[in-house]
C-alpha cells in the first residue's frame, strides 16, 4: 500500500484519502508527491472531505491541486506546443471572435432574444475594461429559442452563442455569458466559468495567447465556504470570523494579517472565541473585540475537567463557590449547550456571536443586559425561570425557538425576539413593559395572553397576520406599527387608544 494514502487517511480521514485516490490516480503513484502537496495546502482536518463533497467542490479541488503540480513540476509552455483559443474553440464546435470595438460587441446582439439581452450590449465602456470574445456554434442557425420551453443554462440553445469576458485589471477573472441571460440561474457563470468545461486546455491556451495571469486558474480561485487561506499558504476551517480574525477548530486562531497562532493544547482550549487556560484556570475572550458577558459568568474556578462523548465534549467547571458549570462543545469546539446555575446577572454581549448554542439553562439568572445571544439561530431549549429583566436585542435573530416560557420576566428592552418566526407558544405572565419591535417578524403566533402587559413599544407584532386572540387587559395604549400587516388590524385596534403622537394608517 502506498504511504501517501495512509498519510492522508491519518491526517484527513479515510473518505478524504479515497477521494484523493480517485481524483489523482497518477499523482498518488509517486510516493510522497500528493500527500506533501495536500499538507502544504490544507491544514490537517477530518472535516475537509465533507466540506468539499457537501459543497460539490470536487472539480475545483482537483483543479486547484493540479495547478500546483503543473507549476511546481514545470510543464512549461516553452517546451510544449499549445494550440490557440481559436483552434481549440473550433474543436469544440465554435467559431471564436475577439472584439476590438464596442461596435464589434454590438454586432452579436442579433443572437439574443428581446428581454434576454446581455448587459454587455448596453455597456459601451466594457470594451475598455474587459477582453471580450464571442463564440458562435457552427450550427447556430439550426438552434431556435422556441424549441427550448424549459431553459437550462448549459442546454444547446444557451451555449450556442457565448461571450467569454476577461477583466483587464487585476485580479483577472473570467465570466462566461450565455444566450438566456437572466432567464436562467447564475447566467454569468456559464460552464461554471471554467474554460476547461468548454474544451480541455482552453484555460492555458487563453492564458498563453493573451498573457493573462488568470485568478481562476490560480491560488485564489478555489474557496471552500467556512475556510480561510492563511499566510502559510494553507486553508483552515474556521468556526467564527469576527473583525477579520478567524477562530478555528484545533486551538488555532488566524490573525488579521492571516498569521496562524497555535494555542498549546496542554495549557489552553479554544472554543467559540474564548480561551480556557488550564494553568491559571481563567476564561478569557480570544482575539480583539468587545468583551462578552459569557466570560463574567465563569470566575473563581477551582477545577476543570473535560469528558468526551462520541463527537461532543463537555467541560465541567467546578467553581470555588456554587454548583458545577457544564459547557458542551460540538466536534469543532463550538458551544452547543451551557448550564450554569450560579449566575444571577449577565453583562452586555452574552455569547453575542455564537450561532450554534441549542440549549441554555441559567437557572438563577434574574437580569440580562443588551445583546443577549444576538446572532444565535439554533437555540431550541431555553430555561431562565427567574429572569425578570432583559435588555435590548434579546435573542434578536433567533429563528428556531418555538416555545418560550419566562414566568418571571417583567421588563424587556427593544427588539425582544425581533426576528423569531417560529414561536407559537409564548408564556410571559408577568410581563408589564415591552420595548419597540417586540416580536416584529413573528408570523405564527395565533394566541397571545399577556395578562400584565401595560406598555408595548412601536411595531409590536408588525408582520403577524395569524393572530386570532389577543388578551392584553392592562394594555390601554398602542404605538405605531402595531399588528401592521394583520388583515383584521382595525378590529384589534379599536380596543385601544393610540399613543398621542402615533400616526396609524388604516
Amino acid at each position: 500500500m502506498n504511504k501517501d494514502y495512509e498519510i492522508l487517511k491519518k491526517k484527513y480521514g479515510e473518505h478524504f484519502a479515497k477521494l484523493c485516490r480517485s481524483l489523482f490516480p497518477s499523482l498518488i503513484e509517486k510516493e510522497g508527491q500528493l500527500s506533501s502537496l495536500i499538507i502544504e495546502k490544507f491544514a490537517e482536518s477530518k472535516f475537509l472531505y465533507e466540506d468539499i463533497v457537501n459543497n460539490s467542490l470536487q472539480n475545483g479541488f482537483k483543479n486547484y491541486i493540479m495547478s500546483f503540480v503543473k507549476r511546481d513540476k514545470g510543464v512549461s509552455s516553452a517546451n510544449s506546443y499549445i494550440e490557440s483559443p481559436f483552434t481549440l474553440m473550433k474543436k469544440a464546435g465554435y467559431t471564436l471572435y475577439k472584439c476590438e470595438t464596442d461596435n464589434d460587441v454590438k454586432s452579436f446582439r442579433k443572437y439574443w432574444e428581446a428581454g434576454e439581452e446581455l448587459c454587455t450590449f448596453w455597456d459601451n465602456k466594457r470594451i475598455n475594461s474587459h477582453l471580450i470574445f464571442f463564440a458562435v456554434k457552427d450550427n447556430v442557425n439550426e438552434i431556435k429559442r422556441e424549441n427550448f420551453k424549459s431553459p437550462l443554462r448549459q442546454d444547446e440553445y444557451g451555449t450556442s452563442v457565448i461571450s467569454i469576458q476577461f477583466t483587464k485589471s487585476t485580479p483577472i477573472t473570467v465570466s462566461i455569458k450565455n444566450r438566456y441571460n437572466h432567464t436562467v440561474v447564475n447566467p454569468d457563470a456559464t460552464f461554471s466559468n471554467d474554460l476547461e468545461n468548454i474544451y480541455a486546455g482552453l484555460t492555458k491556451s487563453f492564458v498563453e495567447e493573451y498573457y493573462l495571469n488568470l485568478v481562476n486558474d490560480e491560488i485564489h480561485s478555489f474557496e471552500i465556504p467556512g475556510y480561510v487561506l492563511a499566510q502559510d499558504g494553507r486553508m483552515y476551517k474556521y468556526n467564527y470570523e469576527i473583525g477579520n480574525i478567524y477562530y478555528c477548530p484545533n486551538n488555532i486562531i488566524i490573525e488579521e494579517n492571516r498569521q496562524v497562532t497555535y494555542l498549546d493544547k496542554d495549557k489552553e482550549l479554544l472554543f467559540d472565541y474564548f480561551v480556557l487556560n488550564f494553568e491559571n484556570k481563567k476564561l478569557t475572550r480570544a482575539g480583539k473585540g468587545i468583551e462578552d458577558g459569557f466570560v463574567y459568568g465563569i470566575k473563581d474556578i477551582n477545577k476543570i475537567e473535560i469528558k468526551k462523548y462520541n463527537n461532543e465534549k463537555t467541560i465541567i467547571i467546578t467553581p470555588k463557590i456554587g454548583e458545577n458549570i457544564l459547557i458542551t462543545l460540538d466536534n469543532t469546539n463550538r458551544i452547543i449547550k451551557y448550564i450554569n446555575s450560579n449566575i444571577t446577572e449577565i453583562d452586555d454581549n452574552f455569547l453575542q456571536y455564537n450561532e450554534k448554542l441549542s440549549e441554555l439553562d441559567l437557572f438563577s439568572l434574574k437580569r440580562v443586559r443588551n445583546w443577549f445571544l444576538k446572532y444565535n439561530k439554533e437555540l431550541t431549549k431555553l430555561n431562565l425561570p427567574k429572569l425578570e429583566n432583559a435588555g435590548d436585542y434579546f435573542l434578536n435573530f433567533n429563528k428556531k425557538l418555538n416555545e418560550l416560557n419566562l414566568p418571571n420576566i417583567i421588563i424587556t428592552g427593544n427588539e425582544f425576539l425581533y426576528d423569531n418566526q417560529e414561536l407559537t407558544i409564548l408564556n410571559l405572565p408577568k410581563l408589564e413593559n415591552a420595548g419597540d419591535y417586540f416580536l416584529n417578524n413573528n408570523e405564527k403566533i395565533t394566541e397571545l395572553n399577556l395578562q400584565n402587559l401595560k406598555k408595548a413599544g412601536s411595531s409590536f407584532l408588525y408582520y403577524n397576520e395569524a393572530l386570532t386572540v389577543l388578551n392584553v387587559p392592562k394594555l390601554k395604549e398602542i404605538e405605531e406599527g402595531f399588528l401592521n400587516s394583520h388583515p383584521k388590524r382595525s378590529s384589534f385596534i379599536k380596543n385601544f387608544t393610540l399613543k398621542p403622537e402615533t400616526v396609524v394608517y388604516l
Binding site: E117, C119, T173, P187
Partner: protein
C-alpha cells in the same frame, strides 16, 4: 436587507462594512444609469443572499442598473434578491441586479 457602509472605493472595488455584525466585504461593483456613483460613507442595502457565498448566484462581481431596464429580472417586490438600495446623504435610489 443588510445595510452596508462603503468604507473604500478603488476603481470599482468596493469595501463594505456591515455595521451590525462588523463584517467587511469586498466586491467588484458596477453601477449603470446613475447620475452619481455611490461614494465612501454612502450606504448600500443588499439582500443577505448577495453576501452569502453559498447562494447559487453569489458573485464577487455584481452589476446594478435601473429597475425598468431589461438586463435583469423583473422586480416584483422589495424582498427580491436582485433588488438593492443606495442611500446617499440626501436621497435613496433603488436598482436591480444586471446580468450579462
Amino acid at each position: 436587507m443588510v445595510k452596508l457602509q462603503i468604507l473604500n472605493v478603488n476603481d470599482n472595488i468596493y469595501t463594505l462594512l456591515n455595521i451590525e455584525s462588523n463584517k467587511t466585504y469586498k466586491f467588484s461593483l458596477n453601477f449603470y444609469g446613475l447620475q452619481k456613483l455611490p461614494q465612501v460613507g454612502d450606504f448600500l442595502s443588499f439582500h443577505s443572499e448577495l453576501l452569502d457565498k453559498n447562494y447559487v448566484e453569489y458573485s464577487e462581481s455584481y452589476q446594478f442598473g435601473p429597475i425598468e431596464e431589461i438586463y435583469g429580472r423583473e422586480i416584483l417586490n422589495r424582498d427580491s434578491v436582485d433588488y438593492i438600495l443606495i442611500t446617499y446623504s440626501d436621497k435613496i435610489v433603488s436598482l436591480k441586479r444586471f446580468f450579462g
